[in-house]
C-alpha cells in the first residue's frame, strides 16, 4: 500500500537502507542505526509521506544463543522496531534497526522525542525493558520497573522466573527455624524491619 515510502527511502538513503520488504502487507525498511534520526525526520517532513502519528516503538532481542537468531543476516543483537502511521495519507510503515553486541555494548540510538513528542514514554519503556539507551532523551529513566531494578526483563537472557525482592527474603539462619514452619500471620507481619522469629516450641523431655 505504501510502497511509495519504501521507494522514497531507497532513493534518498541508498545503500544505508539495508533491506525492504512487504511481508503480510506490512511495509518494512531496515536501516543503519547511524541514520535512524535522519530517516525519521525525512519520513515526517516529506509531503508525500507525512508520517505524523507515532504508533509504537519496541525492542526485539535476538541473542546468538537463540535458534531464531542463527538465521539472522544483520549484525547487532537488539532490534528496535518503530511503527508509524500517516493520518492524511492513510499509510503505515515499519522501520527497524539493529544495535548492540552480545553484551549489549553500544546499544545506543538517537532519541526521536524532538520529532514526535509521543516517543518520550516509548523510548523510556524500550530502555527499561530492553536496555537500549537513547542519546538526547530529556529524561531517560525507568518507567514500568522501579529504580532499584537490575537488568532489563525483556532481554531473552533475563530468566522469567528471576525475582528481585526489595526486602530480602528470610533465610533459615535469620529466622532461627525452618522457614516453612513459621506462622503465616504473626504479630510483626508486614513490618518494615521484618518478622521476628516465633518462639520455638519447648521440647518435652
Amino acid at each position: 500500500m505504501s510502497r511509495i515510502a519504501l521507494d522514497k527511502l531507497r532513493e534518498r538513503f541508498g545503500p544505508l537502507v539495508l533491506e525492504t520488504h512487504s511481508e503480510f502487507g506490512d511495509d518494512t525498511a531496515v536501516v543503519e542505526p547511524g541514520i535512524w534520526r535522519d530517516v525519521c525526520l525525512f519520513l515526517r517532513d516529506d509531503p508525500d509521506l507525512d508520517f505524523n502519528l507515532p504508533i509504537d516503538l519496541c525492542g526485539v532481542d535476538y541473542p546468538i544463543s537463540e535458534a531464531a537468531a542463527r538465521r539472522r543476516t544483520l549484525p547487532g543483537r537488539m532490534e528496535v522496531v518503530l511503527h508509524l502511521y500517516s493520518i492524511g495519507r492513510r499509510h503505515r510503515v515499519r522501520l527497524k534497526t539493529r544495535v548492540g553486541d552480545e553484551a549489549m555494548e553500544g546499544a545506543e540510538l538517537d532519541s526521536l522525542t524532538s520529532i514526535w513528542p509521543g516517543l518520550d514514554w516509548l523510548e523510556r519503556e524500550v530502555f527499561d525493558m530492553s536496555g537500549v539507551r537513547f542519546r538526547g532523551h530529556p529524561d531517560l529513566r525507568r518507567i514500568l520497573m522501579y529504580p532499584e531494578f537490575e537488568g532489563h526483563p525483556l532481554q531473552r537472557t533475563y530468566p522469567a522466573a528471576k525475582t528481585q525482592p526489595l526486602v530480602p527474603y528470610r533465610t533459615e539462619a535469620s529466622a532461627g527455624m525452618p522457614v516453612d514452619k513459621l506462622e503465616p500471620f504473626g504479630a510483626h507481619e508486614g513490618m518494615p524491619f521484618g518478622r521476628q522469629p516465633a518462639p520455638r516450641p519447648e521440647k518435652e523431655d
Binding site: 502519528l53 526485539v60 493520518i87 525507568r142
Partner: protein
C-alpha cells in the same frame, strides 16, 4: 523524588509555601487504582507534573514467551479488563493474519457484535467513573446498571462476566447461543434508555459542565504527535477511526458514524464516548440481522483449530490432534506481523514475531492508553489542581494495559 519532610529553620513559623510538592496517588480514589502523580504547586496552580506508572506491571510480554500461542488469550483478557472481548478479538486477528486464516462469515459478525457490546461497557465505565469522581454518584450507578445488562449477555454467551478468554485462533470458543439475538434485542433499548436518564442528570448540570468545559484542552496536531488514538483523538476533531479508515471484520459493510468533537477538551471526550455508545448499538443491530444462524464458526484448519469434543473422545485421530494442539501449540508460520484494531481507548496493536514454533518469540502489545497517559502532564501543567481529576478521568487510563 525528594522527601516531603522539610527541616524548619530556627524561628521559622510556617512551612515554605512556594513551591509546594504534592504526592497524588498511587492509592488515591481518583487515580483509577494505580498511578502516581508528583506535583509541584504554586498556590493552586500545577507548575510541574510527573506522571509515574508501572504499579500494575505484570510482565505480560515476558509471560507470553513461555506458553503456546493460544495461552496468550487469558493474558490479553487482563490488559483492558473493562472490555476484554475487544482484546481477545484483536489478538485473534493478529495471529490469524500471521497464519493467513480468515474466519467464517458467521464468526466475523459474531465477533463484531460481541466487540461492540464490550465497547459500550468500556465507555459506560469510563464516563460513569469520571462523573462519580466529580461527585455525581447517581449517574454512575445508572451507567453501571446498564453495564450489568451487557455483562449478563456476555455471561450467557461466554460463561464469564469479565475475563471471558473467549477468542480462539481461527474462531471463537463456541457458536452464538440460540438466544443471543433475542437477548441483545431486549437489552439494547433498555441500556440506551438508562444511559439517557443518566446523562440527563449530567449534561443539564451547570456545575458538571463548568468543571469539564475548557479543561484539559489539546489541539489536534499536538494529540497526533503525541501518538493519541481513539476517542481522545477524535475529541480534538481528527476523525481517525480504524473501523472506518482500515475496516477489518465486516465493518465496511455496516452503516455507522464516527462522532468527533471540536474543542479537544474534557467535555468533548465525554460526549464522544456517549456518541459512540449509540453508534455501537447501531452496529450490533445490523450485525445481528446479517449474522447467519447456521454454519460453522471456526475455520476448517486442523493445524490451528481444536477438534469437536465429541470426536476427541471417540476417534484416535481427533485425540492425537487435540493432544498435539494443546501440548505443542499451533505451529504459527515464521514471520512478523503488526495487526491493529479499534479498542475502547484507541488503536490496540499486536506486533507478533514467530520463529515457526508453537511458542511466540515476541508478543508486543501497543496499548492505546499508554501514549494517552503519556500526554497527561502536558494537559494539567498550568491548570488548577482540581482540574486533574476530570482530565485524568476522561482519558480512561486502564492500569492493566498501560502498565503491561
Amino acid at each position: 523524588m525528594e522527601s516531603l519532610d522539610r527541616e524548619l529553620e530556627q524561628g521559622e513559623l510556617e512551612l515554605p509555601a512556594d513551591p509546594v510538592h504534592l504526592n497524588m496517588g498511587p492509592s488515591h480514589p481518583a487515580m483509577h487504582g494505580t498511578v502516581r502523580i508528583v506535583l509541584e504547586l504554586s498556590g493552586e496552580i500545577v507548575t510541574k507534573a510527573d506522571v509515574q506508572i508501572g504499579y500494575l506491571h505484570r510482565g505480560f510480554e515476558k509471560m507470553c514467551e513461555r506458553g503456546t500461542w493460544a495461552q496468550v488469550f487469558p493474558y490479553v483478557d487482563r490488559l483492558n479488563y473493562v472490555s476484554p472481548m475487544l482484546n481477545n478479538v484483536g489478538y485473534a486477528l493478529a495471529v490469524e493474519k500471521l497464519c493467513g486464516l480468515v474466519v467464517p462469515e458467521r464468526c466475523q459478525w459474531y465477533r463484531m457484535a460481541l466487540g461492540e457490546l464490550a465497547r459500550i461497557a468500556d465507555h459506560l465505565t469510563c464516563t460513569g467513573a469520571m462523573a462519580m469522581e466529580l461527585g455525581a454518584t447517581t449517574p454512575y450507578l445508572w451507567f453501571i446498571k446498564a453495564r450489568e445488562m451487557i455483562w449478563d449477555i456476555l455471561e450467557e454467551e461466554t460463561g464469564a462476566r469479565l475475563t471471558h478468554s473467549f477468542g480462539r485462533i481461527g474462531g471463537m470458543a463456541s457458536p452464538p447461543s440460540p438466544d443471543f439475538a433475542a437477548l441483545c434485542g431486549a437489552a439494547l433499548p433498555r441500556i440506551l434508555e438508562t444511559v439517557e436518564e443518566g446523562e440527563k442528570l449530567l449534561l443539564r448540570n451547570r456545575i458538571f459542565l463548568d468543571r469539564l468545559q475548557g479543561v484539559g484542552v489539546i489541539s489536534g496536531a499536538d494529540a497526533v504527535s503525541l501518538g493519541w488514538t481513539g476517542p481522545c483523538l477524535r475529541a480534538t476533531g481528527v476523525a481517525y477511526d480504524i473501523r472506518k479508515a482500515h475496516p477489518y471484520l465486516k465493518y465496511d459493510e455496516v452503516d455507522f458514524d464516527v462522532p468527533v468533537g471540536h474543542a479537544g477538551d474534557t467535555l468533548d471526550r465525554f460526549l464522544v464516548r456517549l456518541g459512540e455508545i449509540r453508534q455501537s448499538k447501531r452496529i450490533i443491530e445490523q450485525s445481528l440481522l446479517r449474522m447467519p444462524t447456521e454454519g460453522p464458526v471456526n475455520c476448517d484448519d486442523p493445524r490451528m483449530v481444536l477438534p469437536e469434543k465429541g470426536e476427541v473422545y471417540t476417534t484416535i485421530e481427533a485425540t492425537i490432534r487435540h493432544f498435539k494442539l494443546i501440548m505443542e501449540g499451533s505451529k504459527v508460520p515464521m514471520g512478523e506481523v503488526y495487526s491493529y484494531t479499534e479498542a475502547g481507548n484507541g488503536e490496540l496493536g499486536f506486533y507478533l514475531v514467530s520463529d515457526g514454533t508453537g511458542t511466540p518469540y515476541r508478543v508486543r502489545v501497543r496499548p492505546p492508553c499508554f501514549q494517552v497517559v503519556g500526554g497527561l502532564s502536558r494537559l494539567i501543567e498550568g491548570r488548577l489542581l482540581s482540574d486533574i481529576v476530570p482530565t485524568f478521568g476522561s482519558l480512561n487510563m486502564i492500569g492493566g494495559e498501560c502498565d503491561h
